[in-house]
């Protein structure tokens, strides 16, 4: 499944973009900035999906994640309205920052080494599939049909889950006055 040729450039650009966005996210001072960085990360990831011929997923990512979740985050930031972080005095990181760095660093090193080794064991493309660049990607249709046939049950459960989430969130975020009114 190799990304050959000119697409390698896309890979590197998108990869760096995502990583920089991610690092900026965790080092952001203001929550709004962080939300924006999140949005950047998600868009970058969507690009990577596209590179990997997952068009539907990329679309879904943009629509739901960026269009829904990030907007939600921004709204919540508005509601919570934390301003102290803008000042210098507030700490950004918790006391266990160092430990976290050490741990994550160790994890990364170990995993990357492991992955590199494993990479040799993966069977490479034996039968080079003649990829004909289609004008239209059939990914959407395939995913759609899978959702309605093989993955029908999880699909329904997912919808139920969303329902629960909607009701739950409304309940959780009620104000006192709202509770008194409706109870």
């Amino acid at each position: 499944m190799e990304v050959k040729g000119a697409q390698i450039l896309f890979y590197y650009v998108l990869a760096f973009f995502v990583l920089i966005m991610a690092v900026s996210l965790i080092r952001a001072r203001s929550a709004v900035h962080a939300a924006l960085y999140l949005m950047g990360t998600l868009i970058g990831t969507a690009g990577l999906f596209l590179l990997l011929h997952a068009e539907f997923v990329a679309g879904a990512q943009i629509l739901i994640y960026v269009g829904g979740v990030v907007v939600l985050f921004i709204f919540v930031i508005m509601l919570v309205n934390v301003r102290e972080e803008v000042t210098e005095a507030t700490r950004l990181f918790t006391r266990q920052e160092v430990v976290a760095w050490v741990l994550v660093g160790a994890m990364t090193v170990a995993t990357i080494i492991a992955l590199r080794r494993e990479a040799n064991l993966l069977p490479s493309a034996v039968a080079p599939a003649e990829e004909t660049a289609l004008a239209f990607s059939e990914d959407t249709q395939q995913v759609g049909s899978a959702l309605y046939t093989r993955a029908a049950l999880p699909f329904e459960i997912a919808s139920l889950l969303l329902l629960v989430a909607i009701v739950g969130s409304v309940l959780l975020a009620r104000t006192r006055r709202q509770e008194e009114t409706f109870d």
Binding site: A22, T41, L48, L52, F73, W101, L115, R116
Partner: protein, 132 residues
């Protein structure tokens, strides 16, 4: 002697660099995407473990989920490239992850709002009533 050492060092360095540059230009296999997704994951974990602001923690969690999504998609592409054209459960799974992530973010933020209303803070180390 120092001349040999230097020469050997130079040689080693150049071979290393050339190998690196070769690597850079090589076609990217699934492992590269895995490495990338792991690094995203690591950054996400770092954020979860070390930031004080709960909102940013949530966002870091989204990062982690994204890394998992990337993993799935990479492997789906890999299997499809290997010959199993109809293997698209990875995509389906990604859809579900997105759904779950959204739901979870909704609930989490709802809790955050309720919490904020009570404690007037979103710093996680100030919400420590369970401390001994």
């Amino acid at each position: 002697m120092s001349g040999d050492m230097l020469g050997w060092a130079l040689q080693e360095t150049t071979s290393l660099v050339s190998r690196f540059l070769e690597g850079l230009a090589a076609p990217k296999g699934v492992v590269d995407f895995l490495v990338l997704s792991f690094m995203l994951f690591a950054i996400g974990v770092l954020g979860v473990l070390s930031r004080r602001n709960i909102l940013i923690i949530f966002m870091s969690i989204e990062l982690i989920l994204n890394a998992a999504n990337l993993n799935f998609v990479a492997f789906t592409r890999y299997w499809q490239a290997m010959g199993r054209i109809s293997e698209n459960m990875g995509h389906v799974f990604v859809i579900f992850i997105i759904v779950v992530a959204a739901a979870e973010a909704v609930i989490g933020l709802g809790i955050l709002i309720a919490l904020y209303r009570n404690r007037r803070t979103v710093a996680i180390d100030e919400i420590n009533l369970l401390k001994w």
